[in-house]
């Protein structure tokens, strides 16, 4: 079953001389529980693709369907709720709220959904991330690797169906990168989630069930690397 699919997706930035066709005729589909990685040279349109899939930005044309629902047809309010319940984001720069401590950063998406955090699950998550000791620390008191683990924790907090990660290991050393990759892998298995991850590192790309290669705005699938 397809959890996510795009159809003839186009994204054009600017007009005239500064016009950039960041995405061209992108039609892909991802099944539930898959771990997908996206590779491609800098400026090829990877982040743009992720933004479209995560409904962070409007496509110029084409459509994105998640869990059977066409995301860009949703109203603003609906979309916010949909996003907070179904999609978790992880960015290259850790993007934590500097004023909130580790635990608060992680439970924020739950609070935004007007839910009470499941303490048991949060405890389990903190343990999984190796942040139990650090839960009252502010982001500025953490190392880069720890910060990225907090960001992953936040993405997992609402147990979203899809996790979108844009170079989650971009700022980390190989040891920390390995940890992050393992965590992502684990969460897919444990919570039955779908992951789409952009990476520059080909060895991490091979972690994935499938690999999409982006070139000049065009997306094509490399032969299934593991299956």
């Amino acid at each position: 079953m397809n959890i996510l699919s795009t159809l003839n997706l186009y994204k054009t930035y600017g007009t005239g001389e500064t016009k950039v066709e960041a995405l061209k005729q992108v039609s892909i589909s991802v099944s539930k529980g898959e771990f997908v990685s996206v590779i491609g040279p800098s400026g090829s349109g990877k982040s743009t693709l992720l933004n479209m899939v995560g409904a962070l930005d409007q496509p110029t044309s084409g459509m994105v369907t998640i869990d059977g629902r066409e995301v860009h047809k949703m109203k603003e309010e609906e979309l916010s709720v949909f996003r907070r319940r179904n999609i978790g984001f992880i960015f290259q720069s850790f993007n934590l709220i500097p004023e909130l401590n580790v635990e608060e950063n992680i439970v924020l998406p739950i609070l935004l959904d007007y839910q009470k955090p499941d303490q048991h699950y949060i405890k389990e998550l903190l343990g999984l991330l190796g942040l139990t000791e650090r839960k009252h620390h502010l982001p500025s008191q953490l190392s880069g690797g720890q910060q990225q683990r907090v960001a992953i924790g936040r993405a997992l907090a609402t147990k979203p169906a899809i996790i979108l990660a844009d170079e989650p290991t971009g700022n980390l050393d190989s040891k920390n990168s390995q940890d992050v990759m393992n965590l992502l892998k684990l969460s897919v298995a444990q919570y039955h989630q779908t992951v789409i991850m952009i990476t520059h590192n080909h060895s991490y790309a091979s972690f994935a069930d499938r690999v999409f290669q982006v070139n000049d705005g065009m997306v094509r699938e490399l032969g299934a690397s593991r299956r």
């Binding site: 916010s80 984001f89 960015f91 993007n95 004023e99 609402t158």
Partner: protein, 655 residues
């Protein structure tokens, strides 16, 4: 953390420096609004006290009324109190000239004829006199004086009561003698006036018209207590209405200024957090939730700032009232400095709250509009453009100055914000200065000095006496004494004693005119308005300067990361100073120019409206420009110092 809204207090306490500046800014805007409005309220209170004392507490009067008219008006349900004052012409008291009159006892207090001792004359052989006259002649209640009435009939009368002094009769040295009702009815009055005070809430204009029409009273027989009616907003006087209209424009402008100041403050605090709002949107915050977070922040800031601002505004009013009370304890002694708390402060708090509410609405909307993509791209929405201009500027100035000017001009939003912030204060200042105008301040006596005491004599004053007078301590002879008149001014210390000494050296041929009370009454009209109008202008100027410093501070603090980066890549402290200074002066000048142009236009319009001559306010403009540049310079000192004190790496990683 219980709800996502807790982000607001966490953000605020996480950025203590910035929060303090924001709070301060709102404090100043609220203090401005509360200060100006409670000053206006106090002004009305003081003016009213003054009008009641100088004109009396009545609304209209009917000249030479018939008994029927009196009976009908007195029995009206909307009339609170009414009474007759008769001028019975000149008479003689112990062979000296005096004025004679009669006043209905129930209305005497309304016309400030206040019984100091004894009682009003009831029997036909009783009279009532002023205190100064009794003191001067060492007379007492129960004493008998000989009085010749205007009809020439002389008789002995008993003093039954004493009333407080009147400035005018005291200065003229002509005592006023009040007779009983019976005596007055036997005399023909020169004029008689029937004073009417209506009940609270009565529409005076309509009622007066109704009475005049019903009783067929011609317009020239009706008089108005213009001052009081004007203060009650029940006047028909065109000049007063014009004045009120201008007042409304100016006070409307104060509200607008408050809103713009607070709006700008909130806007700054929202503008450089585009990325954070984008991030919140990414993790599922809806637009509504973002709006709520920003509104919550505004609420927290307001809760802190409004009480302080209100207290500040009250303090300003307190100072103005204090000055007036010290200046004239006689008139304002019974007004408590805190007595206008009710409506004035209430209105102040309400306007403060409304101002904050209105001012925070747009930034909240703006924050909600932030697209989630901003979290990813990290763009702070401020686009750098106009590279060409920089080229021109770098050719004209050293690079750091060009960068500063460029920073100011290219960040369009900050530029608009700073410019409007400064400009609106200047517009307000130039607008209010219209009121600093003799036409509004009442009539101040033209002479450079006014005598407190004047000695007159028909028989001539000897040089020996004037020599003696000039030696009395605490008094000073003014100008050249003539044979018939000597003017004296008192130093203000031990005046009573000095007056007694003066009284002791003169003989019966010389009349002592004590003009102090009259002067005080005349000066007051000027003083009351002047204190408040200069108060308004001073408050606006002060708050404008503080606000400008504060806004500059905020703008530098919010760019500390950028400044740290420049230092990291090798900008020297001196260059940094020049750059920040160039930027701040650019803001000052754009604000100053915009403000002066619009302010002068407003000034001209207001004066045209008043049909008063307008001339280009050169001195004001020069003064404002100098103050703007000075403030621009002063305002960068402390934030720059702070930036230099922090370690570069700390600033860069802290965001």
């Amino acid at each position: 953390m219980k709800t996502y809204l807790d982000l607001a207090p966490k953000y605020l306490s996480g950025h203590k420096n910035k929060t303090r500046l924001t709070v301060l800014s709102v404090v100043m805007a609220v203090a401005l609004v509360v200060g100006i409005f409670s000053m206006l309220d106090a002004l009305v209170t003081f003016e009213k006290a003054q009008v009641l004392k100088s004109e009396g507490n009545y609304h209209i009067l009917i000249r030479n009324p018939t008994q029927t008219e009196i009976d009908i008006i007195a029995s009206r349900i909307d009339v609170e109190n009414s009474g007759m004052l008769k001028d019975l012409g000149e008479g003689k008291i112990n062979d000296e000239m005096c004025a004679m009159g009669y006043m209905d006892g129930n209305f005497a207090g309304n016309l400030n004829i206040v019984l100091a001792e004894g009682e009003a004359p009831k029997n036909d052989n009783e009279i009532m006199l002023e205190k100064w006259y009794l003191d001067q002649l060492a007379l007492h209640i129960g004493d008998t004086v000989n009085i010749a009435l205007s009809n020439g009939i002389a008789d002995d009368y008993v003093i039954s009561g004493v009333i407080n002094d009147w400035g005018a009769t005291k200065a003229a040295s002509i005592p006023f003698v009040f007779v009983s009702k019976g005596t007055s009815e036997g005399l023909s009055a020169v004029t008689s006036q029937y004073f009417v005070l209506f009940k609270v809430g009565v529409n005076i204009q309509n009622t007066e018209r109704e009475i005049a029409a019903g009783l067929n009273i011609s317009a020239d027989r009706v008089g108005y207590n213009e001052g009081l009616l004007a203060l009650m907003l029940q006047t028909k006087n065109n000049r007063v209405l014009t004045f009120y209209l201008i007042g409304m424009v100016l006070f409307g402008l104060v509200l607008v200024t408050g809103i713009v100041m607070i709006y700008n403050t909130f806007n700054i605090s929202v503008m450089d957090r585009v990325r954070q709002f984008g991030l919140l949107r990414c993790i599922g915050a809806s637009k509504k939730q973002i709006r709520r977070i920003v509104r919550r922040e505004s609420l927290i800031i307001s809760l802190k700032a409004i009480p302080i601002g209100v207290l500040g505004g009250m303090f300003i009013t307190f100072i103005c009232s204090g000055i007036l009370k010290i200046y004239n304890p006689y008139l304002f002694g019974d007004i408590s400095i805190f007595s206008f708390s009710g409506i004035g402060i209430g209105a102040g708090v309400l306007t403060g709250l409304l101002t904050v509410l209105i001012a925070s609405m747009l930034p909240a909307k703006k924050a909600a509009k932030v697209s989630p993509v901003n979290a990813v791209t990290g763009s702070e929405s401020v686009k750098i453009s106009g590279r060409q201009k920089q080229g021109v500027l770098t050719r004209l100035f050293p690079v750091e100055i060009a960068m500063g000017v460029n920073n100011a001009i290219n960040k369009k939003r900050t530029l608009i914000l700073m410019t409007s912030s400064i400009a609106i204060s200047i517009i307000l200042l130039l607008g209010f200065s219209v009121l600093v105008n003799p036409a509004f301040m009442g009539m101040k006596t033209d002479e450079p000095y006014t005598p407190d005491l004047t000695l007159t004599s028909d028989q001539g004053i000897t040089s020996e006496l004037s020599e003696k007078l000039s030696q009395i301590e605490g008094g000073e002879v003014l100008g050249k004494p003539t044979e018939h008149q000597i003017d004296l001014q008192l130093s203000g210390k031990n005046d009573e004693q000095t007056v007694n000494e003066v009284a002791a050296v003169i003989d019966e041929t010389i009349t002592l005119h004590d003009k102090r009370q009259l002067n005080a009454e005349a000066d007051n009209a000027f003083m009351t308005i002047a204190v408040f109008i200069y108060g308004f202008v001073a408050v606006i100027a002060l708050i404008s300067i503080l606000n400008m410093i504060n806004t500059m501070n905020t703008s530098i603090v919010s760019r500390s990361k950028y400044l740290a980066m420049l230092r990291a890549v090798g900008m020297s402290d001196k260059q940094l100073n020049k750059m920040v200074l160039a930027q701040s002066i650019t803001y000052s000048l754009t604000g100053c120019i915009t403000g002066c142009v619009l302010g002068v236009v407003l000034q001209k319009e207001l004066l045209d409206f008043l049909a008063t001559d307008w001339s280009f306010p050169l001195y004001q403009i020069v003064g404002i420009t100098v103050i703007c540049i000075m403030t621009g310079t002063l305002s960068v000192i402390s934030p720059l110092k702070k930036i230099k004190e922090t370690v570069i790496s700390e600033t860069i990683t802290s965001l």
